[in-house]
């Protein structure tokens, strides 16, 4: 499958989720379901971070340390750019040092 085909399928899926809320506005969702749905992005994002940081063939341990520092920065500063820039700077400094 070409990347463009994947992009189009992704666009269709995300739009389907976006529009279904608007269309089903009168429907009610049981509170238990609503609560579970709120944790899905947290779990999936965590899994993506852990999988991609531990999956790197080169400099894996440096990548893990850099990600932890970036998480701490994000916790304190709450700025997207600070998290990314801080993490990359840590990575480059550690890569130079070791």
């Amino acid at each position: 499958m070409t990347t463009l085909a994947i992009v189009l399928l992704m666009a269709a899926s995300v739009f389907a989720i976006r529009i279904s809320g608007f269309v089903a506005a009168r429907a009610t969702i049981p509170p238990g379901w609503e609560r579970a749905l709120g944790y899905v992005p947290i779990a999936t994002l965590t899994a993506l971070v852990v999988a991609s940081v531990t999956n790197r063939s080169e400099q894996m341990s440096i990548g893990i340390v850099a990600a932890m520092i970036a998480a701490a920065i994000s916790w304190r500063v709450r700025k997207t750019w600070a998290c990314i820039v801080g993490g990359m700077l840590t990575y480059w400094l550690l890569a130079l040092a070791f």
């Binding site: 463009l4 809320g21 579970a36 947290i42 999936t44 790197r56 990575y91």
Partner: protein, 221 residues
Amino acid sequence: MRGFLAMLPMWTGAIPVGLAFGLAARGAGIDALDAQVMSLLVFSAAAQISAVSLIDDGAPAIVLLATTLLLNVQLLLLGLAAGRETRPGWLGRISGAFFLTEGSFGVAAAIGRLTLPSLVGAGVSMYTGWNIGTALGITVGDAIPDPRSIGIDLVAPLAFLAVLVPLVRNRPAVVTVVVAAAIVLILTQIVPSGVAVLGAGVGGSLAGAWFAGRPEMAARR
């Protein structure tokens, strides 16, 4: 228009993440045009950055689409809330839905009663920032001769962290993070990483919902 203006400060959030996406996409060898089209049509940071990692790993399309759905499941709840408040016609539903993001919903809801124009205005503003960021990231990514050698593949997980950390606001969220991390570490030893992410996404969120639903947590609400 008020939504658009209120959203301007959020450009500072949308541009860096868009830049990170563009950079990561080029680092993973995704065509510049495909990356920009993705930002124009999909308009979802989490879905797009995960797609970069998964395409890079050679994950099958079905795994990629399932991850896209899981990452955006909260848009269903936002759409329900927005639909109830604004009661739009078909055209309004389509435009409201296309530009719906967590950030734009939050801003539009914060400037007073939620209306369709403020929701769409905020969404269009964020969309503009997101696509400018993507274009910048693609340009910067193309200027770097060997992105992988300087660790550009780390940009994607860092961008996820920037989205994830502010979401972890209570103990059930912490439980979700710990369980999802444990599941993915175990599953990646057995199955391809895309499938492991899906399993951890489902398992982690069930654990979080279970923890939040315990009688002692429910009593605190």
